[in-house]
Symmetry: C2
Subunit: 462 residues, 2 copies
C-alpha cells in the first residue's frame, strides 16, 4: 500500500519496503545514480529517492522524471548519509505517470514572485510556500471546528443569498436570474425585482450573525463558518471580495463570557497549528516573516489585557508618540493606535471594550451611560484587529430605538425584533475573518496568497 | 456553573446542585406546585423542573414562565418518580429573563404544519422536529470533517464566485456590482461586463470539483465542503437554490478506490449520527418516517453491490415489473429503475458504474470501449441516488476531444487542460448533496426543512 511522505519522514524505519506516489520537485543526476526529490503535498519536505543506474530503463526513466512529473516509486527505506534528513528511499521500480515538459512547465527551480504565481493559480499549490499555506489553512480550519464541537456548539449554515442589507455593512453584490437584455419594469418604470428568481432583490451576505442569533435562541451555543462577501472596490493586500468568516453566538452570555471564549479560541487555534504544522510554521518564520513564531507564542502564552475604549483613549493621549491621526474620544481607533496599544504599550493582545455607540453597529448592547456599547475588539501585536464582537441588545424597546436612530428599515428586521419579543436573553458573539487569521499566522504579505482562488476587483480566474 | 441539559439527562446524579438556562417548553400548574419543562437545545428532551409553591414570588414567576419564556433555574437534582425520565430538578430559585406572551407567541403546544413553520423560520428551530434536524445536521457535518481529516485529506475552499460555466450543469445565478439603471454597453450594443466588478461576467458556482482537482494535483487528497447554487426554477421538495456539497478528490486513485472511499464514507457518517444523536434519530423513526433507522442500519451493515450500467440494464430488462419509463441501453436510469435495483432486487446500496458517455459529463474517463465512462452513482434503498462520482479523464488528448465533442469553450478550460499537461495522474472523486443526505437520514419530506433558512424560487426570507 502507498504511504504518505509525511508519515515516512516522521515514522519510517530503515529496511521498510514502501511505495510512494507524488510529483518530482528536483532531480540531480550524478555519475552512476540520480537524486529525485518527491513531494505528495502531505508535508513541506519531500522524500529523497536514490535511483541507481542499474535500474531497468534508467536513462529513459530519468529523462521523463523531470521537475513536475508524477511518479510512483517502490523501494526500501535506508538511513540517509545526507544532512537534514533521517531516511531516504532506495528505488527498485519507478513508474512515470505524467511528464512535465521542462521547456514549458512554469514551476522550474528558480524563485517566482507571488504576483506571477497568482497568474498560475492552478499550479501554485505545488510550490513550497503555497503548499505550506494551504496545510496551515486546513489545520486552522480544523482547529476551529474542534474547538467549538468540543464545547457543544452547533455548526449552523446561515444563508449566503439574502434579501436584507440589515447591517448596512458595506457594498453588496446583487444575485440575479434576470435577463439583462429584458429587464422587467414596474408601472413606475423601476426595475421589477418581484419578477426575479427570489421574488425580490437578493444579495450576497456580508455576515451570518443575525441568523446565528436566531439559532442561538434555540440551541444556546452555535457558530457559523462559511463564505461572506464584500463588493468594496478596495484593491489592497488585506481585502477580498469573497472571504470566509467564523461567527460564534452564545445565548445566556454577556461580554465577559464573550471575551473569555474569544481568548480561549485564539489560543487553541494557534496552539493547534504550531503542534500539527511545525515544519510549515518554521518555514514561514525563516522565509516569509521572522516574527510569526514569536507572535503565535505571544498569543498562546499571554493573558490578554482588557481595557475600555475610554481608558484606551486616555492611554493614547498620554503616549510619548506622535500619531498621524488625532486621538479623541468618539473617533474610531486607527491602525497606528491599535498597534501602539498592543505592540508598544502592552506587548500582548489587548481587548478593547465599550466603544462609543456612534461608531458601532445598531445591534450592540447600550451601556447605562447611554453613549457607549458593549463592543469588543481584540488587537494583537503585529496584526492589529483580529476579532470584533459584542454583547447584543436584548431589550426590545432599546433595540427598536437604535434601529430607528441608525435609519435602518425596521420592517425587514421584524424577525430580528421578534427574538427580543419572545424569550429574549442576554447574548453575545464575535466575528473572525478566517483568511486574515491565516494571513497573520503565516506572515504572508498579501491575503490573495492564503486562499486558493482569490476573488478581488477584476480577479475571478480559475 | 451552568450545565447543559443533555449533560444532566445523561450523567446528572441525585442530590447534585445545578443551574440550567433555557426556554420553557411546557408548564403544568398543579395544586401546590408546577411542572416546567425546560429545553436548551442540547437535546430533544427537556429537563422537568418541579417548582413548589413555597418558592418566593411563586405566583408571579409562574405567570411569567409561559411557553417560550427564557429562564435560569437553580436547584438540586432528584430522582424522578415519573415514567420516562431518570431525574428531575427541584427548583430553589427561578429567574425569568424574557417572557413570551401566550396570546401572540406562535409556538404554543398544538401541532403546526411544516409549511406554517417555514413562515416563522426565526422561531421554528425551537420546535422538537427542527431542533432534532439541526442537531443531526451538525453531527453529520462533523462526521464528514472527521472522516476526511483522519485520512489526511485537506479541506480546501474553492471559490463561490466564478467566471466559468465549464460544467454546463444547469442555470446559473449572475453576481454583479453593476447599476441596473446604468448598464454599460459595448460599441456593439451588448452589456459590457468588462465594466463589472470582476472585469467579466461572474456567476455563483454549481460545483467546486474542477478547482478541487487543481488542489488534488498538489496535495493528493482533498475535499470541499461548502455552498453551491442552482438557478433552476424547480419548486420541488428535493431542490434548493442554495445547498451544501461535499466533494472529495483523490490523485493516484481510480474508480475502485473511489468506490471504496465513498462506501466507507457513507457508513462512517450514518454510524456517527446514530451514535451521537440516538434520541433524535429515534424521534424521526417514531414521528416522521418509520424506516429511517432501518435504512441507516442497512447502509452501515451491507456490503454495497457493485454492477455496471450495462448489467443494470440487463437486470431491469429481465425484471418482473412494468416501468413507466422504458428501459434501454443509452438512456439514463429513472428514479423507478434506481429504486427497483436498490430496494427490490439487491435490498441494499448499489453502486452502478460505467455509464454511457453521452449521458455523463465531459470530464469522466473514457473506457476502452469508446462509449462508456468510468462514472459511478450510489443508489440506496428508500433514497435513490445519494452520491455521484467518477474517475476523471487524465489523458490530455482524450480530454481535449471530449471538450470539443461536448461543445464546451476550450479557451476557458486552459488551466483544467494544463493539469493533464504537467504531471497528470489518474484521479477520481465524488459529490454528495449534503442537505439531501440530511433529508434522507431524517426522513423529512421537504428539503426546505433540513436547512435553517432555505433558498428556493420566491423564497429568501430571514
Amino acid at each position: 500500500m502507498t504511504r504518505r511522505i509525511l508519515d515516512l519522514l516522521r515514522y519510517g524505519q530503515p529496511n521498510e519496503p514502501v511505495t510512494i506516489q507524488g510529483w518530482v520537485r528536483t532531480k540531480r543526476d550524478q555519475k552512476s545514480f540520480s537524486f529525485v526529490e518527491v513531494n505528495d503535498g502531505s508535508s513541506l519536505a519531500g522524500l529523497q529517492v536514490v535511483v541507481n543506474d542499474d535500474l531497468p530503463n534508467y536513462a529513459e526513466t530519468m529523462k521523463q522524471a523531470n521537475t513536475g512529473a508524477s511518479v510512483e516509486i517502490s523501494g526500501v527505506l535506508v538511513e540517509s548519509p545526507a544532512k537534514g534528513q533521517r531516511i531516504e528511499l532506495k528505488a527498485h521500480t519507478i513508474k512515470v505517470y505524467g511528464e512535465a515538459d521542462a521547456e514549458t512547465y512554469p514551476l522550474q527551480k528558480k524563485r517566482h514572485s507571488f504576483e506571477f504565481l497568482r497568474t498560475i493559480g492552478h499550479l501554485r499549490p505545488r510550490t513550497n510556500t503555497l503548499g505550506a499555506v494551504f496545510r496551515v489553512r486546513n489545520a486552522c480550519a480544523t482547529a476551529i471546528h474542534n474547538f467549538f464541537q468540543e464545547r457543544g456548539f452547533l455548526w449552523v449554515h446561515t444563508p449566503l443569498i439574502t434579501a436584507s442589507d440589515a447591517e448596512g455593512a458595506g457594498e453588496l453584490f446583487t444575485v440575479t436570474g434576470l435577463d439583462f437584455e429584458k429587464l422587467p419594469r414596474t408601472d413606475a418604470g423601476e426595475i421589477d425585482f418581484s419578477e426575479d428568481f427570489f421574488g425580490r432583490r437578493a444579495y450576497l451576505t456580508v455576515s451570518g450573525q443575525l441568523e446565528a442569533e436566531i439559532m442561538a435562541m434555540a440551541f444556546t451555543n452555535v457558530y457559523t463558518f462559511g463564505p461572506t462577501f464584500r463588493a468594496e472596490n478596495s484593491n489592497t493586500s488585506r481585502h477580498l471580495a469573497e472571504f470566509w468568516m467564523v461567527e460564534p453566538e452564545m445565548a445566556f452570555c454577556e461580554l465577559e463570557g464573550n471575551m473569555d471564549l474569544a481568548e480561549a479560541f485564539l489560543k487553541h487555534v494557534f496552539k493547534h497549528v504550531l503542534e500539527t504544522c511545525p515544519e510549515d510554521m518554521e518555514f514561514f518564520n525563516l522565509r516569509i516573516d521572522d516574527s510569526v513564531l514569536a507572535t503565535a507564542e505571544n498569543i498562546i502564552n499571554s493573558q490578554f489585557e482588557r481595557i475600555t475604549y475610554t481608558d484606551a483613549i486616555a492611554l493614547l493621549e498620554k503616549a510619548d508618540k506622535s500619531f498621524e491621526y488625532p486621538v479623541s474620544w468618539g473617533a474610531d481607533l486607527q491602525s497606528e493606535h491599535e498597534r501602539y496599544l498592543a505592540e508598544d504599550l502592552f506587548k500582548k493582545p489587548v481587548i478593547v471594550t465599550d466603544y462609543p455607540a456612534a461608531i458601532k453597529a445598531f445591534y450592540m448592547r447600550l451601556n447605562d451611560d447611554g453613549k457607549t456599547v458593549r463592543a469588543m475588539d481584540i488587537l494583537a501585536p503585529k496584526i492589529g484587529e483580529l476579532v470584533g464582537g459584542s454583547q447584543r441588545e436584548e431589550r426590545l424597546e432599546v433595540l427598536e430605538r437604535r434601529v430607528q436612530e441608525c435609519g435602518l428599515p425596521i420592517e425587514t428586521l421584524w424577525w430580528y425584533l421578534d427574538l427580543r419579543r419572545y424569550g429574549t436573553v442576554p447574548h453575545a458573539g464575535f466575528g473572525l475573518g478566517f483568511d486574515r487569521l491565516v494571513q497573520f499566522m503565516t506572515g504572508m504579505g498579501n491575503i490573495r496568497d492564503v486562499i486558493p482562488f482569490p476573488r478581488a476587483p477584476r480577479e475571478a480566474e480559475f
